[in-house]
């Protein structure tokens, strides 16, 4: 049941609403890349990233020359004084246990909105980013109604964002950052695309038949130099897709660009300063005995990615030799020898969440956190946003590791207010080495007002995934990256300390049933309750306003006299 997923953000990029003005516009550059990673379970993951960097201070001067940077987003940032924007649309679930940790993680089925207020003058954007944001000058106040600017996103992305409730601010994030709690099932409308460079491959009908796809937009300011005297704005548009190899490859694990996307690369994007394709050829060693990549790569890139050493084959579309001879580039991978069926390596951190209990009155929400590292324990920050209609009872919160109680180092709980804001539970939990930690909390299901039920209330209500953030110890130490030289997928969450890497996981979203009244009830209730109240009122009115009287037998009465007349005629005694 794939909703129609658009790629409207790419339109904005490629249609480039700005004109070619005569005055010197701020410099902007576009880099695009595609990373193809075969996953341990046999599927293939393709990650597109388009990064536009614009050396302009959007918030200070009135900017009107937009070239590569989309005008809609730029105006949004300057009008509402946003510091950062992260928006992602995801369909499917990233199976961390079988696929390993991804580069770009996004919650399933939800829209994750993040926005920092401009009033904070400290705190960097991402916790591990090497860039820091400059101190703010006097900037206009954000609008008092926090829903004005997300509604403009609605038109920009042709998405229906229907977010009920207030913004919640997790305590561990920098002050002023807030995120939207739950936006279930946003429906999007598809758009047409212009085809140039890597976006040639983005054909909607192939992308729908995937196990997982996620698009995201990340806008953040980055420093131009080490002292951070001026900033530029970075817009990253990403698309992650996981193809089920057995469906696309008809049973064989071979893949090619044509098989996956039903298109091949023809020419580089003329606006891009860099356009590359990276293919992960790590696991399958370099002696060309197990696999063959066609066309053979000219260069390779080796680095420690997500804690392990990986090798990538690079195909540079701007290299004229690459595309020249055949006018199209179809990267193929063939298996010479079928790979051994080995168990996929288990990532060091993965999680699972489920609801237990029976009946529609109460239940229990449990999260299982797995730390599979043999000897290192590390802390995990668990953030749970539970809608208000599942009333959590924080006194029933229990955390157990290896059978013993595990007290969290830090706990922040903000209870829900009915119809206004959801529960926010944030905990820092130490996961012992090689253990399973169970976090469980009981809840009660609330009865909603009859207008608040969806058209199919027995389908259930969604609970947004919980977010786990952790610094997972790497197997191999990594070197700090150079921002400009490294590939894009390495610089989204650059590491400052090579001994661990940052991972953000999302658990499964849950579907819970609420006690549903019968929808004929409003009519029934009004009629019958009014009747009962009338019975009460009537009885009391009688007793309060009337007094007792002896009832005199009635002498007359027309019917009785008539009857007596007839009786006298018959000769029968009268009544």
């Amino acid at each position: 049941m794939a909703a129609a997923m658009p790629l409207a953000l790419l339109v904005l990029l490629l249609l480039g609403p700005g004109g070619w003005c005569l005055a010197e516009p701020p410099r902007d550059s576009l880099r695009e890349e595609l990373v193809i990673t075969p996953l341990p379970s046999g599927d293939v993951a393709a990650t597109f990233q388009f990064r536009t960097r614009w050396d302009s201070e959007l918030q200070r001067e009135g900017v009107s020359h937009y070239r590569l940077f989309p005008k809609a987003l730029g105006q949004l940032i300057s009008k509402y004084s946003l510091r950062e924007l992260h928006l992602s649309f995801t369909q499917g679930f990233w199976r961390t246990r079988y696929w390993g940790p991804p580069f770009l993680q996004a919650p399933s089925v939800w829209i994750n909105l993040g926005r920092s207020s401009v009033m904070s003058s400290q705190g960097s954007s991402a916790p591990l980013s090497t860039s820091s944001t400059p101190p703010t000058q006097s900037l206009p106040l954000p609008p008092s109604n926090p829903w004005v600017w997300p509604m403009t996103l609605t038109t920009t992305f042709c998405a229906m964002l229907c977010c009920r409730g207030r913004w919640s601010a997790p305590k561990t994030s920098p002050p002023g950052r807030s995120s939207c709690p739950v936006v279930p099932r946003a429906s999007l409308i598809s758009f047409h695309l212009l085809q140039a460079g890597l976006s040639v491959l983005l054909k909607a009908d192939r992308l729908f038949h995937t196990s997982y796809h996620s698009q995201a937009v990340h806008i953040r300011p980055v420093c131009r130099n080490a002292r951070c005297t001026s900033i530029s704005w970075e817009l990253r548009q990403t698309l992650s897709v996981v193809f089920d190899a057995f469906i696309t490859g008809q049973g064989k694990k071979d893949w090619s660009l044509f098989r996956m996307f039903s298109r091949t690369l023809t020419e580089p994007c003329p606006l891009a300063s860099e356009s590359r394709v990276y293919v992960d050829i790590t696991t399958y060693n370099q002696d060309n005995e197990t696999l063959e990549v066609h066309p053979p790569p000219t260069t390779t890139y080796q680095d420690v990615i997500l804690g392990t050493r990986k090798t990538y084959a690079i195909y540079d579309l701007l290299d004229t030799a690459m595309i020249n001879n055949s006018r199209n580039l179809n990267i193929q991978l063939k298996w010479k020898r079928p790979p051994e069926n080995e168990a996929p390596p288990v990532p060091f951190l993965h999680a699972q969440r489920y609801v237990s209990g029976y009946g529609l009155q109460k239940g229990e929400l449990s999260t299982l956190l797995y730390n599979t590292h043999p000897y290192r324990a590390f802390p995990v920050l668990l953030l749970d946003t539970v809608p208000w209609y599942l009333r959590l009872y924080v006194h029933t919160l229990t955390i157990t590791s290896k059978g013993k109680e595990n007290k969290p180092s830090y706990i922040h709980y903000q209870p829900a207010q009915d119809r206004l804001q959801p529960h926010l539970l944030e905990m820092l939990i130490q996961l012992p080495a090689n253990s399973v930690t169970k976090v469980s909390i009981q809840f009660e299901r609330a009865l909603l007002k009859w207008t608040e039920y969806t058209p199919d209330p027995n389908h259930g209500f969604y609970v947004s995934p919980s977010v786990l953030s952790a610094l997972v110890p790497s197997m191999v130490a990594a070197k700090p990256v150079d921002w400009e030289e490294s590939p894009l997928f390495n610089s989204l969450f650059p590491v400052s300390d090579g001994s661990n890497y940052f991972v953000r996981l999302y658990t499964e979203p849950l579907l819970v049933n609420l006690p549903t009244p019968d929808f004929s009830m409003p009519y029934n209730v009004i009629c019958l309750t009014c009747t009962v109240v009338a019975v009460c009122y009537g009885s009391f009115y009688n007793l309060l306003t009337r007094t007792f009287h002896i009832e005199e037998p009635r002498t007359g009465g027309l019917a009785k006299r008539l009857a007596n007349l007839i009786r006298r005629a018959r000769g029968v005694p009268p009544l």
């Binding site: 706990i411 009244p517 409003p522 029934n524 009460c536 007094t547 007792f548 037998p553």
Partner: protein, 411 residues
């Protein structure tokens, strides 16, 4: 008289202790008929643990109790079962002594009216004797303590029991004649849930009468009322300032009433509680304790989250009016309705929430039937009371003009 009361208390405490230790305690404490969102023990524990976490218990929508409850249970949380058993015992003792004094007042008044020849000559069998009134206080305590509704409320640790205790002490102090203490207890009861405010009127009437002040004299009423009202306001104000938050009584307006319906605008049901106070005051100004009984019953029927604990309080008064038994018209049918509905409540709840084979209409219907039963029971008692009064003043054996036995109707 003390020994039978102590025996009754011992039996009651034993029953409760046995149930606390059994596995039924947890099952009962989650029944929706016994606990409501405003009186549930689970929410009190939740509020206290929120306080431990450093979050205000009122920042969420889970905790609706008053700050006094927080203060009370902050220290007594480990002895909660004992606290609830003691509150039940205190309620029973308060009612016992209240009814004992009330009986003396009733007897004195009856004697006065007999001497003034206010009664008709042939009503000898309606006159109450001290002999028959001897065991009434004990029966009241028994009715309250051994009522299954009270036992369920106590085992569920519903804070409704605390409210009942405060109302019982209010009645005791009113009957004893102390305006100051009765204002304090009424203020405490009103602080917890707004409805006992309506008991101010019968309390005031009673106090005026015991001081032999004519309720029709406006000036006298004014002074006495002022005294009580000012005490009430003072205490409510003190509670507000000290504890920082008045009772969460605005919430029943927002939350749908679970038992009387899912209609979002329950405000008009809420008004029903206050609506009958003035008419009842006009009709029953000579009988303020009966007025209080009717008012407590009206509160139990029309409050926004009624539970069986509220029903238990007015049921405790039935032995006081057992002289009305001969005039009750529908007592058998009504008893059957109450018993059958009480038995069907858990069945239909289970069918809706757990089995999924019935829907909420069934549960709603049974709550309506229970409320109809209660309404008819109260109006039956009211009818019997008025009828007895009529007989007392006009004679028991009435004949119509043509010599046949008379029929009394309300006209």
């Amino acid at each position: 008289m003390a020994a039978p009361l102590v025996l009754v208390l011992v039996v009651a405490v034993t029953v409760r202790a046995a149930l606390f230790r059994s596995s039924l305690a947890e099952f009962i404490s989650e029944r929706v008929e016994v606990v409501s969102p405003l009186s549930s023990w689970k929410r009190v524990v939740e509020g206290l643990s929120l306080l431990d976490l450093g979050v205000s218990p009122y920042s969420g929508a889970v905790f609706h109790e008053t700050p006094l409850i927080i203060y009370l249970f902050h220290f007594l949380i480990d002895y909660a079962e004992l606290v609830f058993m003691i509150t039940d015992a205190l309620t029973a003792i308060a009612l016992y002594f209240a009814i004992q004094d009330f009986n003396k007042v009733v007897f004195k008044k009856q004697k006065l009216l007999l001497e003034l020849d206010q009664y008709a000559p042939d009503v000898a069998e309606l006159i109450r004797t001290p002999m028959e009134m001897r065991y009434i206080p004990l029966k009241v305590a028994l009715f309250y303590l051994l009522n299954p509704y009270t036992i369920l409320s106590c085992v569920a640790k519903s804070t409704c029991a605390i409210n009942n205790t405060l109302i019982a002490f209010f009645i005791l102090t009113t009957i004893k004649g102390s305006a100051f203490l009765s204002a304090i207890f009424l203020a405490l009861a009103t602080y917890q849930s707004l409805y006992p405010l309506t008991l101010f009127v019968p309390g005031l009437l009673y106090l005026l009468q015991t001081r032999h002040i004519n309720p029709n004299s406006a000036a006298a009423v004014h002074t006495c009322e002022n005294e009580e009202q000012s005490l009430l306001d003072l205490f409510l104000g003190v509670c507000h300032d000290v504890c920082g938050k008045p009772s969460g009584n605005h919430l029943p307006l927002l939350l749908p009433s679970q038992l009387l319906g899912f209609h979002p605008r329950s405000l008009w049901l809420y008004i029903n509680v206050f609506f009958y106070t003035i008419p009842l005051a006009i009709k029953l100004k000579e009988h303020p304790i009966f007025f209080m009984f009717i008012q407590i019953a009206v509160i139990a029927i029309f409050k926004s989250y009624p539970t069986v604990g509220d029903v238990a309080l007015y049921m405790a008064f039935f032995p006081v009016w057992n002289h009305l038994y001969r005039f009750l018209r529908n007592i058998f049918v009504l008893t059957c309705i109450i018993i059958v509905c009480s038995l069907l409540f858990p069945v239909l709840w289970h069918l809706w929430i757990y089995a999924g084979s019935a829907n909420s209409n069934f549960f709603y219907a049974i709550t309506l039937t229970f409320n109809v039963g209660q309404i008819l029971l109260i109006s039956d008692y009211f009818y019997a009371f008025l009828r007895r009064e009529y007989y007392l003043t006009h004679g028991l054996y009435l004949t119509a003009k043509d010599g046949t036995e008379a029929m009394l109707v309300l006209k």
